[in-house]
């Protein structure tokens, strides 16, 4: 009785996640077929052209920034942290969903992640690169960015390890390195598949080089699986630590509105929320362009929407709790900071955030909306707009009016703030589109594990 229940569950699961009687061969052909396409789809070229133009904007504005200095930005006292920090936190946050999908859902044995984890990990990689740009450039003298590293030098100077800003550097640097290793380890068996299917000698050599001579023997899988499991295990506390450390850049200061203990969990929830928004946007585009509706299914989108609902409610709770604590603390500066967020001169930023992050995900209570693709596409973008405004609220609205009215001022960005931000999209999408073109966007080996026949005990009686 119990046995037949289990079997039917495995079959039902496979039917929803990989519909249409798939086999091991058809999975390989479908996924590996994309980077093997002779003719690149015209949509790819259009998107790539757009991405390259934005990358040009990025290079140009970055060049001018290095030449002229951070004076070209809109920052001034009291808002000395402008778009650079907003964008840094925003991009790092987007990256977090990738690690959540690949590591935490792996530990919880959530098989549905197998169709989107490669995708999400790649997103993490490029999002963290975009994020790392900002601390690099906001220091002003970019040519001494290596001072972040604790390197012995002729000046005999060392970083101050008691500062959250250096914690941040270590956290994000470690995060990038571990994400890269995790991503590459997951790719090794798939690179071997591409090597074995390669038609030209160049492809065979390049894929073969990166596949490291993988043979798929169980003596290799044994160590490989353990390495993968441990990477998932250490990425889980890592991803929670990264955004907690990012939040401590703010929370360890004494500015009203920043000096709160709710920041670490609130930042982590927001990060996962925005990251799932980005995974949703990208996977809806990719499944459309490459006809992968049967690999990235409605079931996957539905599950992602459920996670967005959960994390959206968590940030909504945090927004409410911040207000409650500001009132309950009895501290007039703290109360003022929050009233100023909702009713001050930047009220539109605050309400844009509330609308996108708290109101919009409430539709995900209903199955109808979780499975409506145009609706999901629009909301996934709104979520990321909302999360950008959240960081705007935290950075700009908090700083522009602190203790003494004499020190208050308004902030507005310049064209260069906007250009560098838009430019990072060029960096992100150029990398991401090259990935879609040359590497399997779904893990070939892991997608097969969803099929019931991949489990040798399927249909056995013992």
């Amino acid at each position: 009785m119990q046995k037949s229940d289990y079997k039917s569950r495995a079959l039902v699961n496979a039917e929803q996640l990989l519909p249409g009687n798939q086999t091991f061969t058809s999975i390989t052909n479908d996924i590996a077929g994309v980077p093997e396409q002779k003719k690149t789809p015209i949509q790819w070229w259009l998107l790539f052209g757009l991405a390259l133009s934005l990358l040009g904007v990025f290079a140009g504005s970055l060049g001018y920034l290095i030449w002229e200095g951070t004076g070209i930005w809109g920052i001034n006292m009291p808002v000395a942290w402008g778009w650079a920090i907003i964008n840094f936190v925003w991009w790092v946050g987007i990256g977090h969903a990738g690690t959540l999908i690949s590591a935490i859902l792996h530990l919880f044995r959530q098989n549905w992640r197998n169709a989107i984890n490669r995708f999400a990990e790649t997103m993490t990689l490029f999002a963290v690169i975009c994020a790392l740009v900002f601390p690099g450039i906001h220091i002003g003298r970019i040519w001494v960015a290596y001072w972040f590293f604790p390197l012995p030098n002729q000046m005999g100077m060392w970083p101050n390890f008691r500062s959250p800003l250096i914690w941040d550097f270590f956290a994000v640097f470690t995060y990038f390195t571990v994400s890269l290793l995790f991503w590459y380890t997951g790719l090794i068996p798939d690179l071997a598949t591409l090597r074995d299917r390669a038609k030209t000698s160049l492809r065979k050599k390049v894929y073969g080089f990166f596949a490291l001579g993988w043979r798929g023997g169980n003596r290799q899988w044994q160590h490989y699986e353990l390495a993968y499991l441990v990477l998932a295990g250490i990425s889980t506390p890592l991803v929670l630590s990264v955004h907690s450390v990012v939040s401590s850049d703010f929370a360890t200061s004494v500015i009203p509105g920043w000096h709160t203990t709710i920041f670490p969990p609130y930042f982590v929830a927001g990060a996962i929320y925005s990251g799932f928004g980005m995974v949703m946007t990208l996977s809806i585009i990719a499944r459309k362009v490459y006809n992968l509706d049967h690999i990235i299914t409605l079931e996957h989108l539905d599950k992602m929407a459920q996670i967005m609902l959960l994390t959206g409610c968590m940030v909504g709770y945090a927004y409410a709790m911040e207000f409650f604590v500001a009132w309950y603390s009895g501290n007039p500066y703290e109360s003022f900071a929050f009233v100023n967020r909702a009713l001050g001169p930047y009220w539109w930023g605050y309400w844009a955030m509330i609308f996108c992050n708290v109101v919009v995900p409430q539709f995900f209570w209903f199955t109808k909306y979780r499975r409506h693709i145009p609706f999901l596409f629009i909301t996934s973008i709104l979520v990321n707009i909302g999360m950008w405004f959240e960081r705007f609220v935290i950075v700009v609205i908090t700083l522009h009016r602190d203790f003494l009215p004499g020190a208050w001022a308004m902030y507005s960005p310049t064209i260069w703030d906007v250009a560098i931000y838009l430019g990072t999209f060029g960096l992100f999408f150029t990398g991401f589109l090259l990935f879609l073109r040359f590497l399997p966007m779904v893990s070939i080996a892991e997608a097969k594990l969803v099929l019931p026949e991949s489990n040798p005990h399927h249909g056995d009686d013992h």
């Binding site: 091991f24 390890f161 074995d196 023997g217 040798p456």
Partner: protein, 177 residues
């Protein structure tokens, strides 16, 4: 022209698993089961011991943590004591974050490079690649390979044994040059 071993193809993950049990029970030690994805229960079926990778990762993690904590302590107490608002030099709670990050970083290096070390990769030439059909193993084929260096290897006996336990497409791996 030199021989290296024999490969045989099997139908499905469960056929491969049951064949592996029989190969193990016949006393072969130098054999491997190749599949497009890891197969649950294969380690026991092949009689493999637990992976030693955990020890490498543990040692690397500990090294990272000690290095991180040691570096910060040494910098702030010995090499470059920096007085900021009279705060303590040995601020060990503040050191924990970088200690943790370096522990994770070193463990990740241990996991990936330790895995490569134990798997003896990168290794680009291997006798199994002499077979043309073997390349299907990364898509949908399941193979057992038994190497010549196995103490009880005998070309004809091993061939018929593999056939007996359900292997097809039996091929002797030999270097064509």
């Amino acid at each position: 022209m030199a021989n290296y071993g024999i490969i045989a193809k099997f139908e499905s993950p469960s056929a491969l698993l049951h064949a592996a049990e029989k190969v193990r029970d016949s006393g072969f030690t130098n054999f491997d089961c190749h599949s497009p994805f890891p197969i649950h229960g294969m380690d026991e079926a092949m009689g493999l011991k637990r992976s030693k990778l955990g020890f490498i990762i543990g040692a690397m993690g500990l090294t990272g943590a000690l290095f991180g904590f040691g570096l910060q302590t040494w910098v702030h107490l010995v090499e470059y004591p920096l007085n900021i608002s009279g705060k303590p030099y040995f601020a060990y709670p503040a050191y924990l974050i970088i200690t943790f990050e370096l522990m994770v970083l070193f463990s990740a290096f241990g996991a990936v490079f330790g895995m490569m070390f134990l798997n003896k990769i990168p290794r680009f030439n291997h006798p199994v690649f002499y077979s043309d059909k073997f390349s299907d193993v990364s898509s949908d084929a399941f193979y057992i390979s038994i190497e010549l260096t196995d103490p009880i290897f005998d070309e004809n006996k091993t061939k018929s044994f593999l056939k007996e336990i359900g292997g097809t497409d039996i091929e002797v791996l030999s270097d064509e040059n």
